[in-house]
């Protein structure tokens, strides 16, 4: 009953779009495909839909070979980042289109469409043309069309990214309700996103993808607590996790000549040598007893402040949970919360995390 992809690869002009992707998706689950732009998210979703050719690899769904089934017979639904609808049709006809295509009875179509319209909150807009809707409403139509289909596989390719901030928040909150029926009715939902916050909020399984390769596939909690390597740590944190090239010598962590930290409890077993240390921006806090840094740039975002700091060759980004004004070149003192340090080996793989140590 599951969707299984085996060794999917696609290469174009010597660049991997998909690089040996083997995954298993269980029905009734939500999967978040997390990766930066051009990491292969859209390619992967299009491959599942059947829109993208493959160099090699096998897709099976419910025991059937998916490769040999053309797009129009696969019964998947996809919502794009751009607001893609049929501009020549009204809202009602847009949502009814896949049902009409399936030759459903018109009374059934009416029921399905009106329940989908209800779910996305577009009551009263049935007779409008697509051009007469706002961006958010257009995307709601696209969502409604994918809902009405009752497809077994729902592919959502950054559906909220082109919406303005407020709408994005609203739709994201509604999201789980909108799709809860589908999830309980044995569909697979794959949601592509560049935003780690969004991925954590959806709280399903997270698949981290980069340059067409799967880096980690785990629950949201696990990916957050134990990112398997430096790339994952950077991709799954906003702002990206600070990665510092340092070393451990005689029970001290040495980040540069001035900054030496006592080994925290979870790193007691570490051997001397060179490592990469990872530290979330929120684990660098203002503290008068801390190390002195120089402010390169202070950005205020909502109720938070991003501080770009440096000391000699050491550059860090700190996230402060309040709005504070700094001038460039200001001197600040920050404390590094060493109990939350991650340690990666020289190849970039995780060896120690605050939540689990090997």
């Amino acid at each position: 009953m599951n969707l299984i992809t085996k060794n999917l690869s696609f290469k174009h002009e010597n660049e991997y779009y998909l690089n040996d992707i083997s995954l298993e998706f269980k029905v009734g689950n939500l999967y978040t495909l997390l990766g930066r732009t051009l990491s292969g998210k859209t390619s992967f979703l299009k491959t599942i839909a059947g829109l993208q050719p493959l160099d090699s690899g096998q897709i099976t769904f419910e025991g059937k070979d998916f490769n040999s089934i053309p797009v129009w017979k696969r019964n998947v639904a996809m919502v794009y980042q751009q607001f893609i609808n049929y501009p020549h049709l009204t809202v009602f006809d847009n949502i009814a289109f896949p049902l009409k295509q399936r030759k459903m009875k018109s009374s059934d179509i009416k029921n399905e469409v009106s329940s989908a319209i209800q779910k996305v909150g577009l009551q009263g807009f049935e007779k409008r043309k697509i051009q007469e809707l706002s961006g958010g409403q257009q995307q709601r139509v696209a969502l409604a069309r994918s809902l009405a289909k009752k497809a077994k596989i729902l592919l959502l390719d950054e559906p909220l990214v082109n919406l303005d901030y407020k709408l994005r928040e609203d739709l994201r909150n509604e999201f789980k309700n909108i799709f809860s029926d589908d999830l309980s009715s044995q569909s697979i939902l794959i949601y592509a996103s560049t935003d780690p916050m969004e991925a954590m909020q959806l709280n399903g399984n997270i698949i981290v993808i980069d340059e067409g390769k799967i880096l980690q596939h785990d629950t949201a909690k696990e990916v957050f607590e134990n990112p398997s390597n430096i790339k994952v740590a950077e991709i799954t944190n906003e702002p990206a996790m600070n990665i510092v090239n340092g070393s451990v010598e005689s029970n001290k962590i040495i980040l540069n000549q001035n900054i030496q930290i006592d080994l925290p409890d979870h790193l007691k077993k570490i051997e001397s040598g060179k490592y990469f240390f990872g530290l979330r921006a929120s684990d660098i806090v203002l503290d008068d007893s801390g190390f002195q840094f120089v402010v390169d740039l202070a950005e205020i975002s909502g109720s938070e402040t991003f501080l770009h700091l440096h000391q000699d060759n050491l550059k860090l980004v700190s996230l402060i949970n309040e709005v504070k004004n700094f001038n460039n070149r200001d001197k600040v003192k920050v404390k590094i919360m060493s109990e939350n340090l991650y340690v990666f080996d020289e190849k970039g793989n995780l060896i120690f995390s605050p939540f689990k140590y090997k």
């Binding site: 299009k46 839909a49 059947g50 829109l51 053309p70 797009v71 129009w72 017979k73 696969r74 998947v76 639904a77 996809m78 794009y80 751009q82 607001f83 893609i84 609808n85 049929y86 501009p87 020549h88 289109f97 896949p98 295509q101 399936r102 043309k129 697509i130 051009q131 007469e132 809707l133 961006g135 257009q138 069309r145 289909k149 082109n162």
Partner: protein, 282 residues
């Protein structure tokens, strides 16, 4: 400043309108003149400057035995040839353009853009270069001096226009719309006819208009490829000329010949401004 801007705007619009309309008015006035009115210096306004006569117009409908010329049959020939050739060009041109816009073709070094260019390269050569092969081919097929032969030739000439316009148009229709149609259960043909085509009406209209204009006004091939049995309107109009140029009947027939284009333009203009693809992609 604002009034000045409006003044400038209307000033140039007026100048341009006069520039466009004046030849028509002149032809209209000339079509009601007789020999003396045409040769006796510049005269424009009927009744005031010259006595109007219906000679120019009556020549067009009088039978040939009574000194008339037959432009009715060439007129319908022209309508038939232009419409058929345009329709076929639009049908085949649109299909070709869709394929060129959505699918990737490879043959040696040849790519989609090259194929599109081959189509339009038909129009780069001077018509005289094409006339000899056309003449020989139609002769070989026994289609010289026939409506079918003309339709085939005009298709070759008009289809590049349709392909060129429609390729550009389809390239601007987001590919994701076709993909969504496929995902929603359409096979590629249904996706084309149910989704892509209904959204391409403005492009079809523009392409159709260009085909009709270029087909309707062509004199050269109509002249080279026909002899006695079949005559098209532009050739018939030129044939009016004799030792004394009959400006009055030439003007009348010229007006008659542009009339359908003007009517088509008026009908089409409404649809052009109405249908658009905005909202398809943001």
């Amino acid at each position: 400043m604002r009034t000045f801007y409006i003044f400038i705007k209307y000033f140039f619009i007026t100048i341009w309108s006069m520039f466009v309309i004046a030849p028509f008015l002149w032809a209209l006035s000339t079509s009601f003149k007789d020999f003396n009115s045409v040769t006796g210096g510049a005269k424009y306004i009927p009744w005031l400057q010259f006595e109007p006569s219906l000679e120019g117009w009556s020549v067009l409908i009088r039978s040939q035995g009574k000194g008339g010329v037959n432009i009715i049959e060439p007129y319908f020939n022209s309508v038939f040839v232009t419409c058929s050739a345009s329709l076929l060009s639009i049908i085949f041109g649109t299909l070709a353009a869709y394929a060129l816009s959505r699918f990737t073709f490879k043959a040696g070094f040849i790519r989609n853009n090259d194929i599109t260019f081959f189509f339009i390269s038909q129009r780069i050569m001077p018509p005289i270069v094409l006339s000899i092969p056309f003449f020989l081919m139609l002769g070989f097929l026994g289609l010289l001096d026939s409506l079918l032969g003309l339709i085939l030739v005009y298709m070759v000439l008009l289809m590049p226009i349709a392909v060129w316009i429609m390729v550009d148009f389809f390239n601007r229709v987001p590919k994701e719309i076709d993909e969504t149609a496929l995902i929603d259960g359409c096979n590629p043909f249904e996706a084309f006819f149910k989704v892509v085509l209904p959204n391409s009406i403005p492009g079809l209209i523009v392409a159709g208009l260009f085909c009709i204009i270029f087909g309707w006004i062509d004199f050269f091939f109509a002249f080279i490829l026909t002899f006695t049995k079949v005559q098209l309107l532009p050739v018939a109009i030129v044939a009016l000329n004799s030792s004394v140029t009959p400006w009055w009947s030439l003007s009348a027939s010229a007006l008659v010949s542009v009339a359908p284009l003007i009517i088509v333009a008026f009908i089409v203009e409404r649809y052009l401004s109405k249908g658009n693809l905005s909202g398809a992609l943001k």
